[in-house]
């Protein structure tokens, strides 16, 4: 590894803390720019979706297990189940599928 892990940690922490702390301390009025507000509104959903698929199929030993976990997770989250239940169900699907086909 050519880079220092503590500089990596410093960089990511500084960026994250600045993102979280600067607006809440500096902004006393609502953001007016409509494009910026819309962009910031959509970013979380887009970036999480991009990171979830197809990466979930590479995270498991069998890509089919990851794919099925994605489908089951979407179904349960759609029904409004809690974070813990959705995450646990995804894990159990992968465990079950890999038990059967590997």
């Amino acid at each position: 590894m050519n880079h220092d892990i503590y500089i990596y940690l410093l960089v990511m922490s500084a960026v994250t803390l600045a993102i979280r702390i600067l607006p809440v301390t500096l902004i006393r009025r609502p953001i007016k720019n409509r494009f910026l507000r819309s962009f910031l509104f959509y970013v979380p959903y887009v970036t999480l979706a991009v990171m979830t698929f197809p990466a979930i199929m590479d995270a498991t030993r069998s890509p089919y297990a990851g794919l099925l976990a994605l489908i089951v997770g979407i179904g349960l989250a759609w029904k409004g189940l809690s974070l813990f239940k959705v995450a646990a169900a995804c894990c159990m699907v992968v465990f079950g599928v890999e038990l059967l086909i590997l």
Binding site: V24, P30, V46, P54, A55, A69, S82, C91
Partner: protein, 241 residues
């Protein structure tokens, strides 16, 4: 500097924060454990994983950061990736800034801002009236250790678990992402369409020639900025949305 600039109660909101923070902390402990496995794969020690999680408190942001660290990529790429993956906290922090009573001490704002996560943001916004920082401190007092200790445990115990268990646990983090994006995608057709487009575009870019040679983090940045910008241009949110 004193923390008491407001006459609002402290003890009762703190206990309510602990009550609401308990299920969050338990969920964090499990999900952070799998984040610890990702940290371990990136070469982090348990202590380094603890530090990363204590100061970042971000599932997607940390996961993305660990993939960049694993690739031994430049510091700038890590900074940009962290910025993009955590950009939603910028918006949440803006929203939380509107919840504070105007006379709130800046130290309270800094401390509350320190731990604006998806879940703590959710319970903060769900409360009526001006934000009482002691409610957030109650929730943070469990959520923060749950997340950072869970990550350290994942780094330490990730290699002790059988392969089947690691494979199963590694999707818990994706389960959390799914849990964040799907209910809004169900209730808002624009978000739903953007999520579907993101899935398709991400899949395509992972397989297209040239583009698939870029790192996963770089593809995530490009796709996020492009798709969210297109969404913002075609369907700007209504005022007070």
């Amino acid at each position: 500097m004193t923390l008491t600039t407001t006459s609002a109660p402290k003890r009762a909101p703190f206990m309510e924060g602990i009550r609401d923070g308990t299920p969050i902390a338990l969920g964090y402990l499990v999900v952070a454990f799998t984040l610890g496995i990702a940290a371990r794969n990136a070469g982090l020690t348990a202590f380094e994983g603890f530090l990363a999680s204590f100061f970042n408190n971000a599932s997607a942001g940390e996961y993305a950061a660990f993939t960049i660290i694993a690739a031994d990529a430049p510091y700038l790429e890590l900074a940009i990736m962290t910025l993009v993956a955590n950009a939603r906290y910028l918006l949440m922090s803006c929203v939380v800034s509107q919840k504070f009573a105007p006379d709130t001490n800046i130290l309270h704002r800094v401390l509350v801002g320190f731990d604006i996560t998806d879940e703590i943001f959710g319970i903060t916004i769900a409360r009526k009236g001006p934000l009482n920082p002691y409610y957030n401190y109650g929730a943070m007092s469990l959520a923060l250790p749950g997340w950072s200790v869970g990550t350290a445990l994942g780094v330490m115990a990730g290699n002790l678990l059988p392969e089947a268990a690691v494979s199963a646990l590694s999707v818990a983090l994706f389960g959390m992402f799914i849990w964040v994006i799907i209910p809004p995608a169900r209730d808002n057709r624009i978000i739903g369409a953007l999520v579907a487009i993101s899935f398709i575009a991400s899949f395509a870019c992972a397989h297209l020639p040239v583009i698939s040679d870029l790192s996963g983090g770089t593809r995530t940045i490009i796709l996020t900025v492009a798709i969210a910008a297109i969404g913002a241009i075609l369907h700007p949110i209504k005022d007070h949305a």
